[in-house]
């Protein structure tokens, strides 16, 4: 999962680097080629493109600051982990694991999140088709019934976290699961569609009215991305 995300961001930055862009991004592009370094993936749309569901200000801070911090911290702790492995320092490796889980999870989760959103002009909010539509109908009766369950799961998160539509890698069936903080969807389950329920994802626009955010975000869900993740 993370490998493909990293590859994507390398390609994107490679493309960016070839274009004449007098921004600091050109400098970042160089780091994309350092082996094993995570980089911030480019957003596949503009910061303001998800308005009015999600404001441009939120998108900019969320991508350019929050996600960037996860990327920077992940690289920092990965480097420390590499050192600890080289020194065969097991204690240090174990101590670093929660940091890798948190910041690596933050990187993976946000990368998937940007992809599974889209402006309405680019298909955001259009209902799923094919296998995924079938699976949702079979499991929940209808898309609306699934959304209702998903929003209840989001509302039930006590603290920071995510809700995901996941696929069981053993049985192929789909379900809704919540994850605390930045715990990534790994192991038995495959992430299909994720919604960020951290306060930073909505607070500037919705403040304490998070139910309104959960309702609005379906207008910009990119079901095509979720369909591609289904196996």
């Amino acid at each position: 999962m993370s490998a493909s995300l990293l590859r994507t961001s390398v390609v994107r930055y490679a493309l960016r680097a070839s274009a004449p862009k007098p921004s600091t991004r050109a400098g970042l592009a160089g780091t994309a080629f350092v082996r094993g370094k995570a980089t911030l993936p480019d957003l596949p749309y503009d910061y303001g493109a998800l308005e009015p569901a999600i404001s441009g200000k939120i998108m900019e801070l969320h991508h350019d600051k929050h996600h960037q911090t996860y990327v920077t911290s992940l690289n920092n702790f990965s480097e420390q982990m590499a050192e600890a492995k080289q020194k065969e320092d097991i204690t240090a490796q174990i101590a670093l694991q929660p940091m890798i889980n948190f910041h690596g999870g933050g990187h993976i989760n946000h990368s998937l999140f940007w992809e599974n959103l889209a402006p309405t002009s680019e298909g955001g909010g259009e209902p799923p088709t094919g296998q995924l539509a079938k699976a949702i109908n079979e499991s929940y009766g209808s898309l609306d019934a699934m959304k209702e369950k998903f929003n209840a799961a989001l509302a039930g998160i006590q603290g920071s976290g995510w809700a995901w539509l996941v696929q069981d890698t053993q049985t192929g069936s789909i379900s809704i699961k919540t994850y605390a903080n930045q715990d990534p969807v790994v192991g038995q389950f495959r992430p299909l569609l994720g919604i960020d329920a951290w306060e930073h994802a909505y607070y500037l626009q919705y403040q304490n009215r998070k139910a309104e955010y959960f309702k609005a975000i379906w207008e910009v869900v990119n079901w095509k991305a979720a369909e591609k993740r289904l196996k």
Binding site: L61, G161, N181, W198, E199, H200, L204
Partner: protein, 253 residues
């Protein structure tokens, strides 16, 4: 907001002895119920200062939302969960009694934490905001961490190390006759209620506590909060018992 009636205070000691003997101060029009169907009802304790009193360190907009919306929601959800629990006890519905526990823990924690938090803050211009208002506590802080800066750095490090939502607390830990200070972080709304633990002051590290003003710059929030720590309250909690620290909660029943 707080309801002053003489009866709840008299009844409070009763309440402590028997979980089935409770009084709902929110509904004074109803007769007392001494059956298991009723549950204690909490209400939002008033802020001991105005919403704008902590400016410029914490904006009035944050304070108003935080107190009147977020804290209120914990109380509303706590009261609902307690009612569900009381009914489940009455009907011997053990499955519901168990399933409601996490909701009680979370929302009661939110109520406890925020109630303590408001009290351990004060306007920067207040004499209570000076560390000289906590001479005995400060002596032990210095004995524990060496100097004020080391203590602040340790506290800041703990706050910024929280992964997700949570709180950072300076806690007095009493074990037998021994007593020490500790910096403790808790996740989500877990309250500091462990054996022998008395919260001295806490800092809310949920994003709602600072985001409208500080955005992703939580280090600046953690830096500025020192200006509005109520050291007088901290000293009182340090010298007192847990019941003293939690008296605000009893008053909001």
């Amino acid at each position: 907001m707080r309801r002053y009636t003489s009866l709840p205070i008299a009844l409070f000691s009763l309440l402590l002895r028997s979980s089935t003997c409770v009084f709902a101060s929110e509904q004074p029009q109803q007769p007392f119920e001494f059956g298991a169907m009723s549950a204690s009802t909490y209400s939002l304790p008033p802020l001991p200062y105005g919403y704008d009193a902590l400016e410029p360190h914490i904006s009035a907009q944050i304070m108003e939302l935080h107190h009147s919306k977020h804290h209120q929601t914990y109380i509303t959800n706590l009261n609902a969960a307690l009612k569900t629990q009381a009914e489940a006890v009455h009907t011997s519905d053990i499955a519901t009694q168990v399933s409601v526990q996490q909701g009680i823990r979370f929302n009661a924690g939110g109520h406890i934490n925020h109630s303590l938090f408001w009290q351990n803050l004060c306007p920067a211009s207040s004499p209570d905001a000076k560390t000289s208002s906590a001479p005995k506590l400060f002596k032990q802080i210095k004995a524990t961490w060496g100097d004020e800066e080391t203590f602040r750095d340790a506290f800041k490090g703990a706050l910024l190390g929280i992964q997700g939502s949570g709180w950072g607390w300076l806690v007095k830990v009493e074990i037998g006759k021994e007593q020490r200070l500790a910096i403790v972080t808790t996740k989500d709304q877990d309250p500091v209620v462990g054996k022998g633990e008395i919260p001295i002051f806490g800092v809310d590290m949920w994003e709602h506590a600072y985001y409208l003003q500080y955005l992703n710059g939580k280090a600046a929030y953690v830096e500025n909060i020192w200006n509005v720590i109520n050291w007088k309250t901290a000293e009182e909690r340090y010298l007192g018992t847990r019941a003293d620290a939690f008296k605000i909660l009893k008053a909001s029943i």
